[in-house]
Symmetry: C2
Subunit: 290 residues, 2 copies
């Protein structure tokens, strides 16, 4: 499982940073979080557009969404037939439909657009994605990417002792329990500890807020500004606030993104390490393996 | 006067080529021709967005227009107040309005959108831009950028001989003629040969066509394909056809752009030189001084 930062700038692109987009690659599936202008070019030789099954949008400022029509046009030129799902906050249907009426794009596949609210969950086979409301002055969402927990491995000796063999394993797996010689055996009795699925929280652009998830492996947080003075009333977080959020929800790792062009990465990194030791600054093409 | 190629790819961006956009910088004014996705980033440190007075669009395929909303958002973040004009073929108003309804962009200035037809002329102070219909299967235009011709310099001896002095020069300039001692003197009588303005023709994407301008300093022509087989029924030109167009209209120089990613620049260059010696292949950030 890989997290690939395709764009890490705030509001405007710079020479070094493209506009917001993050890909999570899980097995052969790719889910895109935000799709700023030029995302399709940033992903060249990293991600095949055909692998992207869905796009989750945090909000409709241009720097988070303007890569969508171009990406869909390229998918069509590649003769994609698989449907694509686009999720986002209130007004997502209206905005996406307008964007796709902005030219002759000849989209060759179905686009399913769905608006999400706080706590809504989108289920995938091996993981789910849950939305939570953020604070950005317009309808906006953050997302929890959670790999589903899986049962522990079979403890073979114990299973054998209780008389489980052959097809009984799959029956036990399916039903959760099995009766052997009149005795009920539960799946938990013969398997080790549950394997906790990996988890990523992405805030998108936001003021600090209560993130409804604890202990994630990775928190990707708005780290636009160094000071409240620079924030100047906008709906973004300071690096310190992002670190405080990581501490509060006991995140194992923090990646700061959406970096204002007024700072160098070093300045952001130095500030972050004052508060949270496992923090790094996202650069375009940073890859985090989980 | 400079022509700056901001994007030279066909349809999809590649590692080396961004999407179609060409800037003509004339004195302190910049006119953009097409504005593909990521144009705003391609122009960093080359062109200040505030200098762009107008954008001329050849047609509404995504690779020629999807940089517009992001560029306008960035202009707004830069607190632009000057109006911006956008020109293009039939349906330009509909498409641009939809694009600008695709998110919360907060445009801070007036956007004047105008649809042009074959032969329409947009007048600027020192130059004009004339549209001509092209052949791309959808409404599409090419553009002639023509610096206005200027009168020749005063031939001082001749003017003095005829008694012209002081404020008479500006009167003659203003009226085109002046009467001295009962004798009519025309401006042409005392000035050298007319200074012919520089001229650029940009076809946008098109099949070969009759370009309604002869002797331009620079022809920028669709050179997407090497063979008719590769063209495969699409509305583009081969390199050979572009060269034939340059010969036909007696262009002084030819720049091929909108290069299919299946070819190297060397292949295109070699093919072009078979037919027209003053041909070059555009790369991103190629600058032509005229």
């Amino acid at each position: 499982m890989k997290v690939i930062f395709l764009g890490t700038a705030a509001s405007k692109p710079t020479k070094d940073r493209g506009l917001s987009s993050i890909a999570i690659q899980y097995k052969s599936d790719v889910v895109l979080f935000d799709c700023g202008e030029n995302a399709q070019r940033q992903m060249i030789s990293l991600i095949k557009p055909s692998k992207i099954s869905s796009i989750f949008l945090t909000h409709f400022h241009g720097d988070h969404i303007l890569g969508i029509p171009g990406l869909l046009m390229t998918m069509s030129l590649n003769e994609r037939k698989d449907p694509l799902s686009i999720y986002g906050p209130e007004k997502t249907v209206y905005f996406i439909k307008n964007l796709l009426r902005g030219g002759y794009f000849g989209i060759s596949f179905d686009v399913h657009i769905k608006e999400l609210k706080d706590k809504d969950v989108v289920d995938f086979e091996d993981f789910y994605i849950q939305a939570f409301e953020t604070k950005h002055g317009i309808p906006s969402l953050g997302y929890i990417f959670k790999e589903k927990d899986r049962r522990g491995s079979f403890i073979e000796n114990k299973a054998k002792e209780l008389g489980i063999k052959g097809k009984m394993f799959s029956e036990l797996e399916r039903k959760g329990e099995i009766i052997i010689n009149g005795k009920k055996i539960k799946l938990e009795d013969v398997t080790g500890p549950k394997k906790i699925g990996r988890s990523i929280v992405y805030t998108g652009d936001t003021l600090p807020l209560d993130i409804p998830f604890r202990g994630c492996d990775l928190l990707i947080h708005d780290g636009t500004f160094l000071t409240d003075e620079d924030r100047n009333g906008t709906f973004h977080s300071t690096v310190k606030e992002a670190c405080e959020a990581a501490l509060r929800i006991e995140a194992k790792k923090l990646v700061l993104t959406h970096i204002s062009q007024r700072y160098t990465s070093d300045e952001i990194q130095k500030e972050a390490l004052k508060y949270f030791e496992n923090a790094i600054v996202a650069e375009d093409f940073t890859v985090i393996e989980l």
